[in-house]
């Protein structure tokens, strides 16, 4: 897979397991889930999970770019919500769709730029910089909507968010296209290579002539833009918007990336792992509900999975 070509070929069992263990885990989870609850693997439920995977998957791809650059993007949830409320800001027919998309993308571009500039030019820690922009966006959102969003979402967004194309959810198609495009960007383009070099060793990156600031800023812009896209899709899926669409996505996307092998220390991991990490989270949430466990269990299990993943990768990096 992608990670293999970027970080060296596997040599023996341990390394192989470290690299592909995550895929194995997802397979075991699905098989085990199917045994516990046959409805888990029913086509309806799988369809349901894939629709849920789309927005988180889109966000986690951007999050992976930022984490590989040695950063962290806590503003993705706020960007999602802001993009979502924009869908009901103008007229409720499709004529406002281009305007909505343009405003959401402009907002995302601005947020990503501010995040990236703060982190690179002012040396603000990514945690603080993106937390601050998240809070500012929240304020702007409340101000735009006077506290509670009203108005209707143009039907086009509902079709995209909840519709099907020959039985396949449209949101899933968008997600898959985005995943392929950004897989190519990360693993095959000159920009992707620069990101791995700068994230792994910024000084060495500078010495081979890379502009680390530009590379990092672009990563934040990608993250915000993908988050805004996910926000639009989620708004369309729900059909109504509130000020907190995408709540929890900032942490879920980080958790998914880490489970998928994207190292918080930068320079390691890839798109495939991050997306599988997101799929594992979605599958676990779903399974907890299916077996009738209280919803609080989702949170406990999520915590446990983070601990397991962290322990797994630390052990592998030591061996």
């Amino acid at each position: 897979m992608s990670g293999a070509t970027q970080t060296g070929a596997p040599a023996f069992g341990g390394e192989f397991f470290a690299r592909y263990g995550i895929f194995l885990f997802l397979a075991l989870l699905i098989a085990g889930g199917g045994l516990i609850s046959p409805s888990f693997v029913s086509s309806g439920n799988i369809n349901n999970m894939l629709v849920q995977l789309a927005p988180l998957g889109i966000v986690v791809i951007g999050q992976a770019f930022v984490i590989i650059s040695r950063g962290l993007d806590l503003s993705v949830a706020s960007v999602m919500a802001t993009a979502a409320v924009m869908t009901s800001l103008y007229t409720s027919d499709n004529s406002s769709a281009p305007l909505i998309v343009a405003s959401a993308l402009a907002m995302a571009l601005g947020t990503g730029l501010v995040n990236g500039l703060l982190v690179t030019k002012r040396n603000v820690s990514p945690f603080l910089a993106t937390l601050a922009t998240a809070i500012m966006l929240q304020g702007i959102r409340f101000w735009m909507t006077s506290g509670a969003p009203s108005g209707n979402i143009p039907p086009l967004f509902k079709q995209i968010g909840a519709g099907n194309l020959g039985g396949v959810p449209i949101s899933l198609v968008i997600f898959l296209v985005i995943a392929v495009v950004f897989w190519v960007v990360l693993h095959r383009s000159a920009y992707g290579r620069a990101l791995y070099i700068v994230g792994g060793n910024p000084i060495a990156g500078r010495l081979v002539g890379l502009s680390s600031d530009r590379v990092i800023i672009i990563a934040y812009v990608i993250s915000s833009t993908l988050a805004a896209t996910a926000g639009l899709i989620l708004a369309g899926f729900a059909g109504v918007v509130d000020n907190f669409v995408g709540r929890g996505f900032e942490l879920d996307s980080i958790v998914a990336a880490v489970i998928g092998g994207v190292a918080l220390s930068g320079g390691r991991g890839g798109i495939a792992g991050a997306v599988v990490g997101a799929a594992i989270l979605i599958a676990i949430f779903n399974l907890v509900l299916l077996i009738g466990a209280p919803v609080q269990f989702q949170i406990i299990i999520k915590g446990a999975v983070i601990v397991l993943a962290a322990a797994f990768y630390i052990k592998k990096s030591k061996s």
Binding site: T5, A190, G200, N201, G209, G267
Partner: protein
């Protein structure tokens, strides 16, 4: 005082030591030499209690011992100064020296005043001037090493192990260290001295033991061996032409490939003008802190410089940045290979292509196949011993890592190379290979500016030698004038002597 017999130690897949005998007498400086991977560090770690041997016996002070942890070895008077320091950068020198052994007041609290005073005493014993209130992190590397030694000296040291202690020291600091070691020897302390620098071993040590591939090869009194014999014992073969022959004649008439004019860096470099001719190796010597690395950084655009201009092939590079210098054909091989050179997260191929990515990009996609092909070429060119283009770089030996860096820069740059300590942390065999590579590059017409703190290397490799002192160029040596004495004179003379 210490005798090891038949020591065995294996790690998964590797036999690190097999049937090694080793002995140190009280009041003796015993050199331990061998190529990287010969088993020197494994042996010292066994002596220091960090590893338990699989077999063999350790006799210390007349009784058989079996260490199981470093603390026990320390309590018995065995102290190791490692290559990498373990100081706490934000604590003061005094606090670092007494970390874990703080002087206590009657109430059991740390007695800062007594700790300070005791620290001053031990620093004075070392014969150095270090402010014990200074934070350890801001000290020079040499002073940090002295603090490391001070940490050992507050205990009753019976056996001191120094692992490559002079790798980061300049000449006067080395002398200071040697004086200290001689004092300890006179006090009856046994010293194990590990170094790649053979001239130091002849100057300081009483006996020398050679390890190769985890086996004991020979132990000789220092008077009964010589440089050539040690080298051949270490590599197991005669290295002919350790230093390849110099350039026949440097053509001074043609324009220089790299010309630095009036480069200044605040507080570090003052008005240095230098030219590197095509096909020559220009050595840049000087003490640590003379401003050589800063000069290179300024010339490469990593460090902002106050003033001055950089020309490549007569063309002014403006503004100077790493990207612009690479484009002009100049590469910089850093002295900190692991920290600033290699991409540890990427494989051999991506490390090799890192400075010449443009070559592999069509549109905006990189051709992985072309990269692997290029890496294979460099692996063959430089005889890099690795698992292949897709292998990791972090576990390779220093010599192979350095050759990867050479592969990277020779792909990218065809005018000049600035090499900062090109053989630091590289074993004897790989050193000879790197020297050969450097000379071949020069013979192809590349100009090389070689910063080096190893006088032998400067003398052996350079066609001309520039010497820096306190940020200034203090002299330029050519031909028969290139001697260690002349270089040291230019590097260390005080202003009073000069006047």
């Amino acid at each position: 005082m210490l005798a090891l017999t038949g020591i065995e130690k294996s790690f998964p897949g590797v036999k690190a030591l097999s049937n090694v005998d080793f002995e140190v007498r009280a009041g003796e400086v015993h050199a331990l030499v061998g190529e990287n991977g010969a088993g020197k560090s494994t042996l010292t770690k066994i002596i220091g209690g960090a590893y338990t041997p699989d077999g063999g016996t350790i006799t210390y002070d007349g009784t058989a011992r079996r260490w199981n942890d470093p603390a026990a070895a320390k309590a018995a008077g065995i102290h190791i100064i490692y290559q990498e320091f373990v100081l706490f950068p934000h604590l003061s020198v005094a606090e670092n020296i007494f970390k874990g052994y703080e002087k206590k007041t009657a109430f059991g609290l740390i007695d800062h005043r007594a700790t300070r005073r005791a620290a001053q005493e031990v620093i004075a014993r070392l014969g150095v001037r270090i402010d014990v209130d200074e934070r350890a992190g801001v000290l020079s590397v040499a002073d940090q090493q002295m603090v490391e030694i001070a940490k050992a000296l507050i205990h009753d040291v019976k056996l001191l192990i120094l692992d490559e202690p002079t790798a980061v020291l300049s000449e006067p600091e080395v002398e200071l260290l040697f004086d200290l070691v001689r004092t300890l020897r006179a006090e009856g302390v046994g010293v194990i001295y590990i170094s790649h620098r053979l001239d130091e071993i002849f100057e300081l040590c009483d006996r020398v033991t050679v390890l190769k591939d985890g086996q004991h090869v020979a132990t000789r009194p220092i008077g009964e061996t010589d440089h050539d014999e040690l080298v051949s014992l270490m590599v197991g073969r005669e290295i002919e032409n350790y230093f390849p022959p110099n350039a026949e004649a440097v053509d001074m008439a043609v324009p220089p490939v790299l010309h630095l004019r009036n480069i200044s860096v605040p507080d570090r470099v003052r008005n240095v003008t230098l030219s590197v001719q095509p096909g020559e190796i220009l050595g840049l010597a000087g003490l640590i802190g003379a401003g050589r690395t800063e000069l290179a950084h300024a010339a490469f655009g990593v460090l902002d410089h106050d003033g001055g201009e950089v020309f490549v092939h007569g063309q002014k590079v403006d503004p100077v940045s790493p990207g612009a210098m690479i484009k002009a054909g100049v590469g910089y091989v850093t002295e900190d290979r692991k920290g600033q050179g290699l991409f540890m997260n990427l494989d051999v191929a991506r490390n090799v292509t890192g400075a010449s990515l443009g070559e592999f990009v069509s549109g905006w996609m990189i051709s992985g196949r072309q990269e692997i092909k290029a890496a294979k070429t460099e692996i063959d060119n430089f005889a890099i011993r690795c698992r292949g283009p897709l292998g990791d770089v972090d576990k390779l030996s220093g010599g192979n890592q350095q050759k990867i860096i050479f592969g990277r820069w020779t792909r990218a740059c065809h005018a000049a190379l600035v090499l900062d300590e090109p053989t630091r942390g590289v074993d004897v065999g790989a050193k000879a290979e790197i020297y050969k590579i450097m000379r071949n590059l020069a013979n192809e017409g590349i100009g090389i500016l070689m910063i080096s703190s190893e006088l032998q290397e400067v003398v052996g490799m350079s066609d001309r030698v520039a010497v820096m002192r306190e940020g200034r160029l203090s002299g330029l040596l050519e031909g028969p004038d290139i001697t260690e004495e002349n270089i040291m004179h230019l590097a260390a003379q005080t202003d009073r002597e000069a006047a």
